[in-house]
C-alpha cells in the first residue's frame, strides 16, 4: 500500500468520477479509519456509521486533496472532523432532550465493549481527554508524523508535540510507569 498508488487512484477518481477507483481506496483504508474512530468513540456501531459518513465526505471533497501529504492523513482529518461534528450534534440532542424533560439516551443501546473485555488500551485511553486521545491514536496507532497530525487537527506542530507530551505524562502518572519499565 504505497502513497503513489493512493495518489494514482485519487487522480483516476477526480479525472473521471471513477467509482471503482474510490472503492479500491475505501477497501485499502477502511481498517485504519474504523480503528481510529473505534478508539475515539469506544462504540463499534457508531464508529462504523461515522466511518461511512467520513468516506462519503471524502468522496465529495476528493478534488480538494492536494497530494502534498499522505492520503490516510487527509482521510483521518475528515474522520476526525466527522467525529467532532457528531459529538456536537449529540450534545445538542442531549440538551434538547433535557429541555423537554425526557431521559437521556439509553446507554444500553450502544454497543460499547462489556467491562470484562476492557483492554489495556481502553484503560489507557480513559485517562486522556478527547483531543489527547485523537492525537495519540493518530501518532501511535496510525503512525502519522507530527506534521501530518498538525494538518489533520489544524493545530501547530508545536501544540501537537505538547499534547503528546501531556498525554504521555498522564499515562505515566495514572499507571505509575517508571522509565525502566518501558521496552
Amino acid at each position: 500500500m504505497t502513497r503513489s498508488e493512493d495518489h494514482q487512484l485519487v487522480a483516476r477518481v477526480v479525472s473521471g468520477q471513477d467509482a471503482n477507483a474510490f472503492g479500491e481506496l475505501v477497501s485499502r483504508h477502511q481498517s485504519q479509519v474504523r480503528n481510529f474512530l473505534r478508539k475515539l468513540t469506544g462504540d463499534f456501531a457508531l464508529a462504523d456509521d461515522l466511518a461511512q459518513d467520513a468516506f462519503m465526505h471524502a468522496w465529495d471533497k476528493l478534488q480538494t486533496f492536494s497530494g502534498s501529504g499522505s492520503f490516510i492523513g487527509w482521510l483521518l482529518k475528515i474522520a476526525y472532523t466527522t467525529f467532532l461534528q457528531s459529538r456536537r450534534r449529540s450534545k445538542r440532542y442531549a440538551e434538547i432532550l433535557q429541555d423537554v424533560g425526557q431521559s437521556m439516551v439509553d446507554e444500553s443501546r450502544h454497543h460499547s465493549m462489556p467491562a470484562e473485555e476492557v483492554t489495556d488500551l481502553e484503560k489507557l485511553l480513559a485517562v486522556l481527554d478527547e483531543e489527547e486521545r485523537a492525537i495519540m491514536v493518530m501518532s501511535y496507532a496510525c503512525g502519522l508524523s507530527h506534521r501530518e497530525i498538525s494538518d489533520a487537527t489544524s493545530m501547530p506542530v508545536g501544540s501537537v508535540k505538547s499534547v503528546i507530551f501531556r498525554a504521555k505524562d498522564k499515562i505515566r502518572t495514572n499507571f505509575d510507569i517508571k522509565d525502566h519499565q518501558y521496552g
Binding site: 468520477q17 467509482a19 474510490f22 472503492g23 475505501v26 477497501s27 477502511q30 481498517s31 485504519q32 474504523r34 480503528n35 478508539k39 462504523d48 466511518a51 461511512q52 468516506f55 462519503m56 468522496w59 489495556d120 488500551l121 489507557l124 495519540m136 491514536v137 501511535y140 496507532a141 508524523s145 507530527h146 506534521r147 506542530v157 504521555k168 499515562i171 522509565d179 518501558y182 521496552g183
Partner: protein, 119 residues
C-alpha cells in the same frame, strides 16, 4: 536544514514510544461488507445527481405548461393585429422556421443524452 532536523527528531523513537506503539497497535479489521456499503451509498448518490437535471426539466415543463399556453394564445392574438403584409414578409425571410425550432430542440435533447451516457 531546519526541517530535516525536525523530521529526524520526529523519527527518533525511545523505549516509551515503542511501548506505546505496542499498546496502541491493533489488528487490521476485516472489511465484512463495509466497502460495499459505502460504494452502494456513493452509486445511489451518483444516480440521484444524474437524474436531478432531467427530473427538474420535466417538473419545470409541467409547471410552466399552463402559463406557456396562455403566452402563446396572447401572442396569437397580437399576431392577428399585425398586418398580413408583415407576416408574409417574415415567412419569406424564414420559410422553414418551425423546422429550425424542432431541429434545435432535437439537437439539445441529443446533447443532453450524450452527456448522460458519457457520465
Amino acid at each position: 536544514m531546519t526541517s530535516k532536523i525536525i523530521n529526524m527528531a520526529d523519527s527518533i523513537k525511545d523505549a516509551e514510544d515503542r511501548f506505546l506503539e505496542s499498546v496502541f497497535r491493533t489488528d487490521s479489521l476485516a472489511d465484512n461488507g463495509f466497502s460495499r456499503m459505502v460504494m452502494r451509498r456513493i452509486r445511489r448518490r451518483l444516480w440521484v445527481k444524474r437524474l436531478a437535471l432531467p427530473v427538474a426539466v420535466v417538473v419545470g415543463a409541467a409547471v410552466a405548461f399552463k402559463p406557456l399556453v396562455g403566452l402563446v394564445a396572447m401572442l396569437a392574438g397580437i399576431l392577428q393585429v399585425v398586418p398580413n403584409d408583415m407576416l408574409e414578409t417574415a415567412n419569406q425571410a424564414l420559410p422553414h422556421l418551425s423546422t429550425y425550432i424542432l431541429g434545435a430542440m432535437l439537437l439539445a435533447a441529443c446533447l443532453l443524452g450524450l452527456r448522460t451516457i458519457e457520465e
